[in-house]
Symmetry: C2
Subunit: 489 residues, 2 copies
């Protein structure tokens, strides 16, 4: 760590048993800012996937904590020496695996300040800033996404938790006294049923398990050739279930599925839900961010009649992890499902206490970083970046379409490309593509991931880093072609 000692403040933070003194905080804080700046400036020299072996970091660390305190300079030196090689660099512009996400500088600033304030935003009075800024900023984003004003936002940590809360509210809306009497040991409850597509995210099934509904409650409806839910089969499944005496109560549709970013036909699903008095939750964790771009807004068409929509600014809106938003038309039901106020949390203010809306009591001051992001880039700045990612993905898709050695395996509505190598002279394409993926990833030059579509091992390339430029997509394309050539030898 460089020694660039700044002026030393003479006033320490606190007594001997207190915190680091102010001078050290300033000095190390500035060094850390510079270290982070260097990290971003040199990130393309780092491997995307950590090249560490399993347990390499673990084995390099002492088995017990130090007895006495250490100099922060020594601790920080270990970040460079031990932690950095064990990092998979999500901010690397050639991170194309899973969904490519990235933070922005102002997002980091937001987390710095939020960590300093260290609020637990349970009650309004313990966190007016968090409570009110959240309301305002989520309404800003709702407007930019052109979502219906009846949808009010609340921040959770992850889409898994947002979706869990939506389904919990839907369950509460049944008025079956499940909150009070539960489900076990009751003879009066039918099997509850919830519907989603075969392509929906695993978080839906996890939520169903956690809520005690059981995997049996979850009906996975087949998708069409574009990996979108078949709404006719959805309707049929609901009708059949009702005949059996089951109770359909919720549909989870997806705008931007994880495997292919396919878009369920929300407008066809809405009337099915309305006719059957079912809750419609839309998982737009990924593609919700795309809806800030006017020409992509149609992907959320129909959501003006949905009961809830989840979108994750930490996925594709340059906001550090974690920040997931549940837009919900029935905050009253969410509150009814979750509110419990023990004596020690009772206050006299007639205000929103956000602890009433979820399983978590304390909440981090997350709206701050999103406020920074939206103000710093502005609506047009964010739109430009999302548009550019879609352009790059479509360019990559075009190269694939033009090449005889490659083929697309799914449409490209946003910024994810599903494809595979399909050279004529190779028989086992699944084995070839898996080898190809591993070769790319082991190179450290890029990270791509996979899925299975119609039993085909499918490569996935996601473009979403704020640092992604055309040259990175070109680099990946060349890398893939080189690896293919060498594998065919």
């Amino acid at each position: 760590m460089k020694d660039e000692a700044n002026k030393v403040s003479e006033k320490a933070f606190a007594s001997e048993s207190g915190d680091m003194n102010a001078a050290d905080f300033r000095r190390y804080g500035r060094e850390m800012v510079d270290w982070i700046a260097d990290y971003f400036e040199n990130i393309e020299q780092l491997p995307v996937l950590s090249q560490n072996e399993p347990n390499e970091l673990k084995n390099a660390l002492p088995k017990s904590a130090p007895e006495t305190g250490e100099d922060f300079a020594d601790i920080f030196a270990d970040v460079e020496k031990l932690i950095l090689p064990a990092i998979t660099n999500w901010n690397h512009p050639n991170f194309h695996g899973l969904f490519s996400t990235s933070t922005s500088a102002v997002g980091i600033f937001g987390e710095m300040l939020s960590a300093a304030f260290d609020m637990k935003a349970m009650l309004w009075r313990t966190s007016p800033a968090s409570t009110e800024l959240e309301e305002v900023v989520l309404d800003w984003l709702r407007q930019i996404m052109n979502l219906d004003a009846g949808l009010k936002g609340i921040i959770y940590d992850t889409a898994s938790v947002s979706t869990l809360h939506a389904i919990a509210a839907a369950r509460e809306g049944l008025n079956l006294r499940i909150r009070e009497d539960g489900m076990s040991g009751r003879k009066d409850l039918p099997l509850l049923r919830i519907y989603t597509s075969e392509q929906s995210h695993s978080s839906v099934e996890k939520a169903v398990i956690l809520l005690g509904l059981g995997q049996k409650s979850l009906v996975k409806i087949p998708t069409n050739e574009r990996f979108e839910i078949d709404s006719i089969k959805l309707r049929e499944a609901i009708e059949t279930d009702k005949k059996y005496g089951f109770l359909p109560f919720c549909v989870v549709a997806t705008v931007g599925t994880t495997s292919t970013t396919s878009i369920d036909p929300i407008e066809e699903i809405v009337p099915i839900c309305e006719e059957n008095a079912m809750w419609l939750h839309v998982d737009a964790a990924y593609a919700g961010s795309a809806a800030i771009v006017p020409e992509l807004q149609s992907c959320l068409k129909g959501c003006e009649r949905a009961d809830s929509v989840v979108t994750n600014p930490h996925k594709w809106l340059f906001t550090p992890f974690d920040l997931s938003i549940l837009y919900c038309r029935h905050l009253d039901l969410l509150k009814k499902a979750f509110s419990l106020v023990p004596e020690y949390l009772k206050t006299n203010e007639t205000v929103t206490n956000q602890m009433d809306y979820g399983i978590q009591l304390g909440r981090r001051f997350r709206s701050l970083k999103l406020w920074f992001v939206i103000r710093y880039f502005g609506q047009t700045g964010l739109q430009t970046r999302i548009r550019e990612h879609c352009r790059l993905a479509k360019l990559f898709a075009l190269w694939i379409e033009k090449s005889e050695d490659w083929e697309l395996l799914a449409p490209v509505p946003f910024a994810l490309v599903c494809f595979r190598a399909c050279p004529k002279d190779v028989e086992d394409l699944n084995a070839l593509n898996e080898k190809l993926m591993n070769a790319v990833n082991e190179s450290g030059e890029a990270y791509i991931s996979h899925t299975k579509l119609n039993d085909n091992f499918t490569l996935r390339v996601s473009v979403g880093s704020i640092r992604a430029e055309e040259r990175h997509i070109e680099k990946l394309w060349n890398l893939l072609n080189e690896q293919l050539k060498s594998l065919k030898k």
Copy 2:
């Protein structure tokens, strides 16, 4: 914002559609570090509770997002102007409400770095550093707390979520196919029962509601005059329930309850759980940190036979929110309850993928800040601070005991004092004490909170800030006595 322009790096982070350039990041980052240092140096000049009226911040903010991006200097100026007055200053040494918590400088550094890396620690390969550091650091803390080596740690966001996972694992351990078949519409399931004390945290009841067990499943056992669970009544309740055909499966005991920090007799509860094959979860969210001090370690006696223990370093171990640890003897059951691996997350490594152990798929790199905290302060440094807080609380309790105008309403095992004003010439002590609390809080000089004990309105003073010194406790004592005098006029 001060202009202290540093040398401008010529290389921007990325293209025009990329992130803030490196020079600006360095400049604003350093200014932010200095701003945070100033904030901590001047924190005693700020009111503890925000003096804002409800909606004051909200009304001061624009109703829509800016079209184009703004200078970060302007955004940051609004932090000082608009956000700061809306902050309840949890780091203020006279924050004695709820539980007094505080971050430390190195904790903030940990969050800065973690935000920069912006990892989503779902798979080992996407986050070897997070996966392995978490294992190592949680084992360090386990040793310092003198917990049994059979307890393996995993980090969640909050104790509410840790406890939820513990109960979910307990439910899975019943082997009743609840994961697969759920609970609704089944005739073969008995009413499941879970036991806790009347003094336990609301998160237990919230978890029971979310899990679909229902409030009816939760049996709240009365406590003795020290607010500890009555283990004889616990045993009786379980036996009675079994006679009715109910299925007792879990006890949640508390070490350090929220109202009074009372300690349930774990050693008496252990045999009851073992005889009845029930899961014992211990909520030590608050007092777990005390167990790092050898002379306080007895508070966890019996936990060597518990199935799970939750402790929150973000409460009383100078680690910024959020970081809750579930130490669990049966990670296999937790995995059985939660693991679901879709194709796009399948990998070939035989490693721990932490997404398998919880509802959340992505996880923040939280172990980094705890690693910083433990190394920077060392075991003895942390012990010194916890000991000092306990000494200050006991000193405060002593002043109360010595005064005729005040009385203690609960024992003080750690660093929380429950008490009230009881001047001889006032009849309605509840009204008096509520007024007293409000007067103290409205002064902005300190923040205290309340609970109800035996129908008595009880004041709570928690000592836990890393900045708390004897002079702060003295200040609070003087403030309380002044307010009492003026209320009696």
